[in-house]
Symmetry: C2
């Protein structure tokens, strides 16, 4: 019997409250099959860790710590990165070199569209070179923008359900705040993540499916001007004396002094100003149809790193797509992404399946136009029906020890180096 070959799992892009649950699914499922899988390594900070040969030995971690990954948010356990690989560059050769040096037979890559593209290219290149490596994708993005607009490749991505729950619950809190403090603070502007796609701000509607709150939702796709926004807000102030504005960080308010990452994506949290600030300043300078001022807040990464707002449904599904990726790798070989598809019918149920990495890499999801109301400042009941099951029903069980959250502690036990030192191509002067 030949020795089971090793595994590398790595993550890319922005983290989520459930990304570690997928990691747990991969690690625990590989552990269940010692005849199929040897040591499981994790790339420390994603593909950068593979390039630099910084591979954390996940098989050497305590079982308890792996199980604690479930309620450990964000990507502190094994890290992530935003490094852009260029196809044809030596970076890809280096990945294959490192994987081969550590006798890696399976590579799991957890991320969004860009990551599925990378996983696909690793699969193609390995095949071209006759190297036996199974490359499998695990979907993740809080933006819910992986896959197609018809929801046939994937119904929703792990991570989205939790950020949707974050927005449902903080909008409830914000409503108590705004209702209570409106004599001096009649307008509360909350900026949501989502560069290009409106699934995150749309989730604020889950806080109030009956539409009892004076809530206005401005998606990037709403395509409204600041003037129109101010008119809407003032109309609501005249009827309700208060207004809650949930607005996408990518809503077009003109120049923000944008900062860009290596993919050319705008990083709104690092830009010179924010949409929320521009809106607050605009409203306060034009004057409100109520006493007091508009005030704003920008939660930023809190949306994707908050353990207690994670959805149990999302945590379970994130685990299962990690597990499914391992089963696909065993049964179907290279070039697939595990996926979540919704079963037809009134009650919420999903099945886990596989789709070709290539199809995902070349797809682009948009927010369904039919889910934006005619007013352009709300989303429809169809959106609510789609998103409501994803936030689950209960609080997750985030363990506390001495009053603090007990997160997984991954020991930095690295595989011994077998390759020459390498500086990733994008990091050279």
């Amino acid at each position: 019997m030949t020795k089971a070959r090793n595994v590398v799992v790595a993550q890319s892009g922005g983290p989520s409250p459930v990304i570690n649950s997928s990691l747990q699914g991969v690690v625990e499922t590989c552990r269940e099959m010692p005849e199929k899988f040897g040591t499981v390594y994790a790339g420390w900070h994603g593909i950068e860790g593979v390039l630099k040969e910084e591979l954390i030995d996940m098989s050497a971690q305590a079982v308890k710590e792996i199980s604690l990954l479930r309620n450990t948010p964000a990507a502190g356990a094994i890290g992530t990165c935003r490094y852009k690989l260029k196809y044809g560059q030596e970076d890809y050769d280096r990945i294959l070199e490192v994987l081969a040096a550590h006798d890696v037979g399976t590579f799991f890559y957890n991320g969004g569209n860009d990551s599925m593209d990378t996983a696909n290219k690793v699969a193609i290149l390995a095949k071209e070179k006759g190297i036996e490596i199974v490359s499998t994708g695990v979907p993740k993005t809080i933006d819910n923008d992986v896959g197609d607009s018809e929801f046939k490749l994937i119904d929703h991505t792990p991570g989205y359900g939790s950020v949707a729950r974050y927005w449902a619950l903080i909008t409830q809190n914000a409503n108590e705040e705004n209702r209570g403090a409106c004599p001096s603070d009649p307008v509360l502007v909350l900026q949501a993540m989502g560069r290009k796609i409106g699934f995150i701000p749309a989730a604020a509607r889950l806080a109030d499916p009956e539409r009892e709150m004076p809530l206005q939702i401005y998606l990037r796709e709403s395509d409204l001007t600041l003037e129109a926004l101010a008119e809407n807000v003032n109309a609501r102030l005249k009827t309700d004396g208060r207004c809650i504005v949930v607005i996408s960080e990518g809503f077009d308010v003109g120049e923000l002094g944008e900062s860009k990452d290596s993919f050319g994506h705008t990083q709104f949290s690092s830009s010179e100003t924010t949409v929320a600030q521009v809106v607050v300043n605009y409203l306060n300078s034009k004057g409100l149809a109520a006493r007091g001022s508009a005030r704003g807040q920008v939660m930023g990464t809190d949306q994707r790193d908050t353990a207690i707002y994670a959805s149990n449904v999302d945590l379970d599904e994130a685990y299962e797509v990690g597990r499914k990726a391992v089963l696909i790798a065993v049964e179907d070989g290279s070039g697939w992404m595990s996926t979540i598809l919704r079963e037809p019918g009134d009650s919420y149920a999903v099945r886990y399946d596989k789709v070709p990495l290539e199809e995902v890499a070349n797809s682009e999801r948009t927010f369904p136009k039919a889910w934006i109301t005619d007013s352009r400042i709300d989303v429809t009941d169809d959106f609510v029906a789609y998103a409501r099951p994803l936030i689950g029903d209960d609080w997750p069980n985030v363990p506390l020890v001495d009053g603090l959250q007990r997160f997984a502690r991954i020991e930095m036990k690295f595989a011994g180096k077998k390759c020459k030192t390498y500086i990733p191509a994008g990091y050279r002067k």
Copy 2:
């Protein structure tokens, strides 16, 4: 037997996650003593509701809804305001007129220093005029700035323990985020509330009492320049590759285009820019000693309206100071504030007592200089020993129904009007 006279309870200033727990304490304790107290009314939006004779009948609310106040954050239940009463003005006469018209024998005012001053003036004026009204204060402020710097008038104010817990737990989450994403986002700037006093940002230290995180805390009182901040951050980047900056909204970075409320207090959430934004822009323009950018977030009112970060210790104590205020009103008469005093000894214990409103109104608390470390970017173990017990050990029990938080629903049943219509003096043209 004479008919028991009625009660008015009202709130002022910024809300907290536990302000409704004090309200519950007042309402439930009054209900226990029907021989002492008649109907309990709440001023809708604080003293503005008293001036406008908008008095919610709290005695007519379902018992269940009153009990749900415990885990209902912020001030949506009965509202708050930032209205500034001027002593000697007709506003004070109006308050006494409305209270007399509704046969109110006891007035409870929940708030910070300004509110204790108001409660004191109501007590004095009623006495001068020979009107029998017992005026009693209930302390509240997330800033922990009510009382004296020696902690003899009050050890800590209800509200602070919960915002401290918020900062302990979100700093833990932020550390997972920053550790995971540091290859592209090495610096995470988190802006904390606290105009003038550093108790809120200081609480971030509770996340990491062993000082394992690359965490720097900038209080208003740190008295450091932006240049010094950048030097500190870059020094940490050189050793750790990442840095978390928790900074007070009132940290001096120069002009912010400040907006002011009616008390002349700066409203940082309504100003033209924020400390976090200025710091992010400064760091990114000067350049970091690591790859990537600084990014910032401004949670704003989330700090004071988040149900699930409320501290159980704080919730219990907030209830008890509300209850104690009622007992003081019965036993000791007018002119007192209920208070929390810490018992000596190693294990945390408090007793509830009373202090004269006048002493509180004229006191001012500062953050103990001895609790700021020599580096000026950390707080000492003595601060940790003071603050740690206040955040409690467990998650609060925030009830969920159909996935959403079930907050108290106070019916807007108002007392019938008995006085002429009145426009508060500060709101006249």
